[in-house]
Symmetry: D2
Subunit: 468 residues, 4 copies
């Protein structure tokens, strides 16, 4: 049908509560091509449906049950909208930049796949399992892209808004570069415009974090407000230095950082969530040894079946296993699954840092623990407690030194572009924050524990604790 074909052939829509509709390419366009739908329907991407976005937080925010799958679609969509906004200026800076559809598709794929390596319990899994193998979810993701998805990626021929120029292809390696913190230098062989795109996936305002702040808040029912993503995007462009924000968008940008900060403080690092994580830490490595006896450095495929669903359902049955070890671990997991909290917060202090200082940093939790012990009254010396340091970076500590994720500010009044105004605009937000908390198994001694924590952070410990 004339008209219809021009409008719908090879295109589809996915409903989404954050972005309303997410367009995507599907078969029916170019013979022999791969489409976004082919990628989305791979087992590796579908697997993300069973990896919740917010790990332990859903025990506190019951509605936070969304998966990394929907977030990945959202990040794909925002990355594509960034591409549309930024292309004219990219082209102005790089006359040899590829076609708009190629740039759009590259960014969309980086958005779709940036989390493909995540395991159950997200970042906790990185810290308490992958770290033992010198792995991160990013490294796993890059391997999945290279080994499992590269062929499909190379067969893409268009974005939702158009067809690539005839010889253009999305290079899977470009995606690996864009998505990662570990891959901070582009290769020699990479095109010159590629590093300009990096801050859109890894940095202070990205397709990733703009989707997750909006989505997590929406799902949890947290009133941080509809962040003004439209404004931030509209006032983004590429100057010759790189990703640049028009001054007119700075207010919205800071509100976004404030909202993200609020989400960290109140949701991601909610005291109950962190208490559950303390409990999980005690049993996670032993659990994984039994539940996932594979070495991911050697074989990748078992990972396809390692999700939060597998893991929780498996451990949920251990409490009446024959095997004693399983039974013991299962009893602990039962507590978690039925929300019977082991560790409860007894006190909290918030630390912050506004500027980089040589050799300076927050105390490590082990050190704080030692100090707290020294300040506890004698009868509590053996009272079990835990120190938890929840660390976040509400903004770059030094906004003038952001490395490969540096952004810039454009002042239309005088036409200048520089990083300088970031210092001024960001100065009301701390660069680093630590929520330092003390947890115990009862609330009985909260007063004494909270007091000792306060002293531990404010006073030097008695330098000589025994008679000389």
């Amino acid at each position: 049908m004339k008209g219809a074909a021009d409008t719908y052939q090879g295109r589809g829509l996915i409903a989404d509560p954050i972005h309303q509709y997410i367009g995507f390419t599907r078969p029916g366009g170019i013979p022999g091509e791969a489409t976004e739908q082919d990628l989305i329907d791979t087992s590796w991407v579908q697997r993300l449906r069973r990896v919740p976005q917010l790990q332990s937080a859903r025990w506190v925010f019951p509605a936070a049950e969304h998966s990394r799958f929907q977030h990945s679609l959202g990040a794909m969509h925002l990355a594509g909208r960034f591409a549309q906004q930024l292309y004219p200026s990219l082209r102005a800076v790089f006359h040899d930049a590829p076609s708009a559809p190629l740039i759009e598709e590259l960014l969309r794929m980086a958005g779709l796949l940036h989390d493909v390596g995540h395991g159950p319990f997200g970042h906790f899994f990185d810290d308490n399992f992958l770290a033992d193998y010198d792995l991160t979810h990013e490294l796993l993701g890059q391997r999945i892209i290279r080994e499992e998805l590269a062929d499909v990626l190379r067969d893409l021929r268009r974005s939702p808004s158009g067809v690539f120029a005839s010889d253009e292809r999305v290079d899977p390696e470009w995606i690996c570069y864009l998505m990662g913190k570990t891959y901070t230098q582009p290769l020699e062989s990479h095109p010159r415009w590629l590093p300009f795109l990096k801050p859109l996936l890894s940095g202070v305002f990205t397709a990733d974090n703009m989707d997750y702040v909006l989505r997590d808040a929406y799902m949890c029912g947290i009133a941080v407000g509809p962040i003004d993503v439209e404004r931030i995007m509209y006032y983004s462009f590429f100057s010759e230095k790189g990703l640049t924000l028009n001054r007119a968008g700075l207010g919205a940008f800071v509100m976004f950082l404030n909202a993200r900060y609020y989400m960290y403080t109140n949701v991601y690092y909610h005291r109950t969530t962190r208490g559950i994580d303390l409990h999980l830490k005690e049993i996670f490595r032993d659990t994984m040894r039994i539940a996932f006896p594979f070495d991911l450095r050697k074989e990748l495929h078992p990972y396809l079946h390692l999700t939060e669903w597998t893991l929780l359902e498996e451990v949920g049955r251990w409490h009446d296993a024959d095997d004693g070890e399983r039974r013991a671990l299962g009893a602990e997991w039962r507590h978690v699954l039925d929300r019977r909290l082991k560790w409860r917060m007894s006190g909290e202090e918030v630390l912050d840092q506004f500027e980089a200082r040589k050799g300076y940093g927050f105390l490590h939790s082990d050190e704080v623990e030692k100090r707290v012990k020294s300040f506890l009254p004698a009868h509590l010396r053996d009272f079990p407690f835990k120190i938890d340091m929840a660390l976040q970076d509400p903004r770059p500590l030094n906004p003038l030194k952001m490395g490969d994720r540096q952004i810039y500010v454009f002042d239309p009044a005088n036409g200048s572009v520089s990083e300088e105004p970031l210092s001024e605009i960001l100065k009301y937000l701390p660069g680093k924050v630590a929520q330092c908390r003390i947890f115990a198994m009862t609330h009985e001694h909260d007063g004494e524990l909270a007091g000792a924590l306060k002293r531990a952070l404010n006073e030097e410990p008695p330098s000589i604790v025994t008679n000389v």
Copy 2:
């Protein structure tokens, strides 16, 4: 600044609660051009700030204080988004269609100006003032466009998304044709593609009504929406027959009609609003004779200063005027302004019609009044009451005969395009509805009045009322 110029030169954003941001063109693009900002800042468009969108309804919905100015900007925006969605299929049907920016700008201007002829109290003003001069707000609007705004319109050179082809211009006459019910045939000289655009401004789902349903609901605090405008638009295209909806969008389209129906029944035709209008009718012509002693057929300029603000503030002072007539009218207006209601609803019957029938129609309110009188008990024969018929068309009465606003349905399963499926999909909505109400000055006799109204609509009146 390279990059910045490519992104922001000659463009601006207006914040809007319904569409978030409305882009527009402003000076700085092409030397000598006129821009949308020039049009928006004319006295004629600015005047709409002082013509509220919802006339008497704001005495019932206190938050409904928005003007036709913001609605006009919203209609401009939606019309432009329609253009972007529809252009590929327009071009597929008409290979000689003008450039995308020209089509976009034409539709945007028709959206911006479709209400420019409205006076104080909107449609009430048409019925109770303009009608006496054989005028309508549309005829006035067309005159304003031709006599006052045509020069600026002809100097436009681009839309927010690009520059016209070099010889293209927006013809003010096209706008007059698109906006009006009174101008149902395009001129011989008009391009063939022009009538295809008409249903976007005048018909069953238009840039106009999609904006006002959303906006009025938002402002009143009426929970009818968010209507799924995105879906309706995405599934709209031009087939060779004209404006066509993909079947996948029919559900959203019907929900939109339902929401519009709800707005008419509960807001625009709220019983208290209609009661206030009954009161206004009694004093409006006399008021206008004093407050606006001009003949709009002869001179247009006084109209620039005739707004709801002027009118209400003037009559608000009449209650202590020296002149007796002003004083009498002023006393009535004082009642309206302080919300002391004269006419209160005593009863209501809802009439509906699903299909066109030859020679058939709802009774006229005069006829109903006569019948009611004949059914009232003797002691109430002289009791003052009013009959009000609030008429609406929730959907085209005959969806297969919509004239120059006909729309079509595309069935992707078999590739067919026709108007037939409209009958099926629209059958749950009545084609015409009349809220027939009886009003009195007290609630004392509500039972008897409501009873008489019911009989008046259900029984034939005694056929011979006097002895023969």
Copy 3:
């Protein structure tokens, strides 16, 4: 602390995206009492976190990942708000009604527990598994309440807004009566006011369906609008006949029914969702025989570990099982899990019924299938296809005969209460709707299949199909 204790003691808040905050009782109020938190944290209620609300629909609406757990909290909250609104009129009708907190708590518990018996894949599970044992999720839920939760329920002493009168207790049997369609008569021993509460949990606008329509739309990203729950509630009260809607709330009530109708048509019964269910039906009984070899009539406890998570993860591994049957089933499940659709819609007809008619009903899908076969061209006689009838009741077929869920309308103009106005107000919605669809494994013969379906529903089949 004076003041603080009076405000927070024994109370808590849960964040929720639909209702913002849901208050609940928790330990710290009355010594020895059970609280809502105790119930929420039981394994049976926590289990609902692993039973998604929307079964197969999330393969179409990726964001629809919410569980019955959050819906149950929402239904609890709405039920409690109904209690607050309705108590004054309940008390006016029944002078011996118990205290407001008791009524509130009874309704909240009925809301919390109404879905506690649901299994994986919700209603599909009822039809394709429980039915074989003459069970329903309601019967299971009632058993869980009686056998597992009754002790805790009996120990409740207060609602979030106050303490029960001293001798009052929530009777678990009352909850069983309120939640069920199967238990339509109250017991002799039940209090007279109890049946008045039933339509709040089982009927046309309930704490259950008002939460799920809002929540499912919110989560899917379906713009049906924020239903005006506030208005519907405010205009609800108990007359001497039972649950009554003030006329002023009828418009909002009908909009709610429209929204629910839209959700059924477009989400719950989305063509792709139904196609997946057709596929699941082919393998579900065999799957369950292996995965859940228990008889729920005999033992209830295994049900604690039967969730959608267990089931999907188990079958997700079967495709490389040693056992042949598992492997075969696993291969089918793999298709489902990776969204490789087996059955695709070839055509659809919508049937509706506005009034009850003796002996009349929609054709059964088996009958339709037979007829379709008779209308198919010879070469397609063996072409595999499926007929699916998706049935819904957008409103009571006969609004004047709703049995124990009857509601009434109050007309403030004349003080009357009756069910009559329901007929008028509901007449634009059909009473029963069937989306009758034909599915095949390819789109190759869509035209012929759709044609045969149309004829099958509109023409009598050839009455004699073989030679006599």
Copy 4:
């Protein structure tokens, strides 16, 4: 009708986009009483419909057309919700506190009437007209309450949630005390609990500012909210010290302050808005002398007809007045009305102050102007420019010294109540901010003007500017 009367008698609902529905009392309850509807329908309160909430800002945010009338209803509603939340703790602290309905009604009336004295152009009117008579809109409001509304107020007998105790009355003088900054000490005769209520109307989070931040953002289409008003309210109570926030609400409180700060910086003090105000300042006093030749200290009644509508329509006609002075002023007003901006921003510097310091404060705009002149190059010495200082207090400069609006923080961990934690939680927000801007009539010398402004604020001016 039994049941109905108990639910609806003497009560009504107003639809509102911010709070959904606002309940109010209306006639039909107690014989002889006055109700909220009587107050709302007075000419003084209805007058607020013609006083826009956002004065010049609507020339920048076209949708910001809402009036102080709807805001007053919103503030009434929030004040009443505060009353419901706070009553139990008020009663715990003051055993002789009056009935809950009396407290609710007192706060609602203070919310409804807090802006009743406002004139056209809001705070601008205070500064550029009332100040010349030593008046403020608060003083006028108090006079309107005492002289015009006191009788109605004294006849109130109930709030929407119940009837006062038999001898209780709302004392209009209490309202005057609560609403004002100028009346900082309660009278000897005032009840002891009265000052506890003051921070709810005048302070850092109030029924007033919580409504206006939400409403202005909603109407402008500014994505700052929804602010978590529910959370802030739930965590508010009265301790023995006064209005107290539970620590659990501090995060939401800070987010609210951030949103308010954002609204000031980006909306209320938008550069274009302030530029319009600079222009208005040049003509306002002369305009008022002609348009409103009354002394409000002597006669109050003319004020009833002084609204933004009167004023703008009057001056809108002056440009073709016979009288020369009117004509000259009218020409200037024409510029404003048609948005032809006289003053455009050439540069901006933001100043902030975090702590109170003796004898320290931002420079006055006159002083800045002088300094700028001294830093301008010679050829611009006579170039016309304006300095504008837009001052705001994002939070109390010294959170420990808030006087009669002091609030406190409750730490549930240790049961303490004090003002100390405010310092910690508020430290990321500046206490005072000045947006210092330089405006000129063209953008020609923006660079030089901006440079001179920067120097003027950072360097001491040459101390001796002429030879000695």
